[in-house]
Amino acid sequence: MRHFVIVGILVIVMAVLTYVGLDAAGFATQMNPVAASAQAQTIDSMWHWEIIAMSFLFALIVAPMAYSLVVFRKRKGDNTDAQHIEGNTALEIGWTVGPLILVVVFAYMGAYSLGEIRRVDPEAVVIKVKAQQFSWTFEYPEYGVVSNELHLPANKQVLLKMESADVIHSFWVPEFRVKQDVVPGRVTEYRITPTLIGSYKVRCAELCGTSHAYMEGAIVVSEEADYDTWIAEQIAIAAAAQTPEGKGQLLTVSKGCVGCHSIDGSPLTGPTWFGLFGSDVKLADGSTITADEAFISQSILDPNATIVEGFPSPSVMPPYVLTEEEIANIIAYLKTLK
């Protein structure tokens, strides 16, 4: 009997210590990093209950094991066996039914919390998301604005309608908690209500190829007034971009080209566009070619036609189907990058 009392106390002490330890590390009452959406708060409170249950169950198994290892060691010179106890049906039923009750409770809580985070606001702001290897593009259909930054108004539900141009990607903002795959051939939905003003990053969470690690995009959550200002600026930029160069630039954003091709000379997955047009390009086969209209047009339509020195063969870039006018616009834009 004495053993049971001591172990009972040990279990409680250990459960409390486990919980306190996790709390001190910052992982009991919340997941990490900081919660920046209404959904994140619901998810974090679910997590808190899970941590409480985990701390208790951990202690419930480890404390009696550790106690037994210390107290019930075989003494030196004792060669007899231990007590013959084959089992106890009441106990077995107890530790089947007990966890069953816990499972039912958590199943209910889990379903409830899922319902909470999927609660639909019919007024939600709709934004289209396009994912491609290895960048994100955001389109505000109401305003005709396309951007590679996602700006969101705080405290308003946003509905992202997401599509993929190539393989499966996954939209994940750790501060928002929620994650949703973006699957080619279908539109997936992501509902979120940002609550905390700040800058975050969307990080692709489904392995999507060579540069998967770098498939990130900027997210800005701002007051509604700041959000409206940004939208107005974007509309002005789009209106000013009725020149071929402007149209070309928008196209390189909406097609995701700039995910792999930098415009400032920095090295990314593909060759930089900075100072590209008119320059001499060394190819993988040792020859040199001048980056003229024909070369750029061919490289867009058939990325494998030529491989620039230092880049993988076959090319990781998918072929793009663009009209002649669109390609001409892109070339006009490239000419400005000097």
Binding site: A25, F27, M31, P33, I43, W47, E50, M54, L57, F58, I61, P64, M65, S68, L69, F72, R73, R75, D78, T80, D81, A82, Q83, H84, I85, E86, G87, N88, E92, T96, L102, V103, F106, A107, G110, L114, E116, I117, V167, I168, S170, W172, K179, D181, P184, G185, R186, T188, R203, A205, E206, L207, T210, S211, H212, A213, Y214, E216, P312, P314
Partner: protein, 631 residues
């Protein structure tokens, strides 16, 4: 060397090479006649490599001679029931043997070899992850036609599948060696099929590894299309390798089930079987019925690539999410294939080292079947973020949580077994205890992934990676080592060095806790799975460095184990008797085990784990040798 060249292994590998070239040459010839391209980046074209790989694997089997008895039967030639092994020493293990004990050891050695390769891959990419930015797997470096990040993806993907194959071979090793001994059988029910199951895994492993040299692949071990439909030709070798190795699992499982059903000793009723046999049955039921699904799903992608069939191609009306359903319908139950034998080892060994009966034998036996059954209806919990019908997420959350109940029964019963025992802690027992605690960590970190709302954050992060490694180390790696230390004297008549064994344990266990805790920690902070580089702004550089050091310590501990293992075969302390003072039948006869197991059949006359029963009888009674019949 000469004796190696004439071995079945060398013949098989030679024929695999020849078969590959012939198959690839055939397709190349046909393509040349049709006016299609005949060479590609890796010399042969993709269809040529695929057929070559397939014919190579078949050639291995014929070349190694594992099918020769069947061929003789087909031609009407009789062969003896048993083959006397005319090889001795190491040669026994590189030639075809029908003895389940030899096959068990063959499985184990190949499993250890693959664990070493998979572990080496892990250390390579763990080194790359020690700091943010690219260290040595840079975009400038080139190896096997891949740049640094591509090589990282290949190594990371291969680490996953090589470890899975090594686990499947490891459990087959233990089951093959131990189950017939526990049952009192002379061998498995189908000795030739048993040898076939082992030998087919070898060309499978070769195919799997060959993908590294054929451009690799960048999909992770899950091989999701459309990415896997675009990856280099290495992807096909990966698919083919898994497809071939899967046969080993299916046929091996069939053999185990028949053996247990038909070949138990007299008096061994279902509830008097050693508990490990229950685990072997549960795991074999899953392997026999589910493995087909991973083979099928990979085959569909293979055909999509070869013949343009649009199973998973949305442009042709296909559905990428369908692949995930097919894939996980095997790959979730597969996890229980990995852990059930390990949990069986824990239940089998605990009573010996606490000198008490196994607490709640029937409940533990039934919980294995319970886990196996529930395991079939939980697969979509891997797909909570996949874009499948979102209402489906709720029933799969419920079914997944149910797994906690039979698993809980095991934990509570183990604790009750240990309670009030007379505990000793030699190396096998240390690994049993370590396995229980590590598996508990895996079990407790599971429900947050089962509950949809928290999983939306945890999915595809290092939290999952930590959780998964906990379940597999607790459910397989620790019990596997326990089993090797425990049954080593039975196989060799010598025991492994205790000091080195304890060093192995005390090095591996703390390092492993640091590794998986650290993984879960950075996962919560935003570390995604399967990335070659991470954002320094996450502030996890120093944790990653610690994880890398922990990884190296685990590697070091395994090196110590492997040295101890091979060194003890010749130089270990002699241990020919009942070293662990066990009631189990295999320890009632001298070690090493004779070729045809028990000279005399035995009869089960009481419970398997009746330790501490005053005036109790032994578990089995051997019949007296009859004069004249006995030789």
């Amino acid at each position: 060397m000469k004796r190696f060249i004439s071995s079945a292994l060398a013949h098989g590998l030679g024929w695999q090479l020849i078969g590959t070239l012939l198959g690839a040459g055939l397709i190349t010839g046909i393509r040349a006649l049709m006016g299609l391209s005949v060479t590609d980046r890796f010399f042969f074209t993709e269809p040529a490599w695929v057929l070559g790989g397939f014919i190579g694997a078949i050639s291995f089997l014929f070349g190694s001679g594992v099918t020769s008895d069947w061929m003789k039967w087909a031609r009407g030639i009789d062969t003896p029931e048993h083959h006397e092994d005319h090889h001795s020493g190491w040669e026994k293990y590189v030639n075809v043997s029908l003895d389940h004990k030899v096959i068990g050891i063959q499985y184990t050695i190949v499993a250890l070899a693959l664990i070493s390769i998979g572990g080496l891959f892990a250390l390579i990419f763990r080194t790359e992850l020690a700091a943010s930015q690219l260290q040595f797997l840079t975009t400038d470096m080139k190896l096997f036609g891949q740049n640094g990040p591509q090589l990282y993806n290949t190594l990371m993907s291969l680490h996953g599948m090589i470890m899975i194959v090594s686990i499947l071979l490891g459990i087959s090793g233990i089951i093959n060696y131990v189950v017939p001994l526990l049952l009192g059988a002379q061998d498995m029910a189908f000795p030739r099929l048993n040898a076939f199951s082992f030998w087919i895994a070898v060309p499978g492993a070769v195919l799997l590894l060959s993908s590294l040299f054929l451009g690799g692949f960048d999909t992770g071990w899950t091989g999701y299309p459309p990415l896997s439909a675009r990856a280099p030709v290495g992807m096909q070798m990966f698919f083919l390798g898994v497809f071939v190795a899967g046969w080993s699992s299916i046929l091996g499982a069939l053999n185990v089930i028949v053996t247990v059903l038909r070949m138990r000793a007299k008096g061994m009723t279902a509830m008097r079987m050693p508990i490990f046999v229950w685990a072997a049955i549960a795991t074999s039921l899953i392997a026999l019925t589910a493995t087909q699904f991973i083979g099928l799903s990979f085959q569909l992608v293979m055909f999509q690539r070869l013949f343009g069939m649009g199973f998973f191609d949305p442009a042709k009306g296909g559905n990428p999410v369908l692949f995930q359903h097919l894939f996980w319908f095997y790959s979730h139950p597969a996890v229980y294939v990995f852990i059930l034998p390990g949990l069986g080892v824990i239940s089998e060994l605990l009573p010996v080292f606490v000198r008490k009966p196994l607490f709640g034998y029937r409940w533990i036996a039934m919980s294995s079947l319970g886990i196996a059954l529930v395991g079939f209806v939980v697969w979509a919990h891997h797909m909570f973020t996949s874009g499948m019908n979102e209402y489906l997420r709720v029933p799969f959350m419920y079914s997944t949580l149910l797994v906690a109940i039979p698993t809980g029964v095991k934990f509570f019963s183990w604790v009750a077994t240990i309670w009030n025992g007379k505990i000793t802690t030699p190396t096998p027992m240390l690994f049993v205890l370590g396995g229980i605690v590590v598996f508990l960590m895996g079990g407790l970190s599971g429900p947050p992934n089962a509950i949809v709302s928290t999983d939306l954050h945890l999915h595809d992060t290092y939290f999952i990676v930590g959780h998964f490694h906990d379940t597999i180390f607790g459910g397989f790696v620790f019990p596997f080592f326990a089993a090797l230390y425990y049954w080593f004297p039975k196989a060799t008549g010598r025991r492994m060095n205790e000091t080195l064994g304890k060093l192995h344990f005390w090095l591996m266990t703390p390092a492993f806790f640091v590794l998986t805790f650290g993984m879960m920690y950075i996962g919560l902070l935003g570390m995604r799975r399967r990335i070659v580089d991470y954002d320094p702004a996450l502030g996890i550089d120093s944790t990653h460095l610690v994880l890398t050091i922990a990884g190296y310590l685990i590697g070091l501990s395994v090196v110590i184990f492997i040295y101890n293992f091979f060194n003890s075969i010749k130089n270990g302390e002699k241990a020919e008797g009942n070293v662990w003072n066990s009631r189990s039948p295999e320890w009632q006869v001298p070690s090493p085990m004779p070729v045809h197991n028990y000279d005399q059949p035995f009869e089960v006359i009481s419970e398997p784990y009746d330790y501490g029963l005053e005036g109790g009888s032994p578990y089995v009674k051997f019949s007296e040798p009859e004069s004249g019949k006995h030789q």
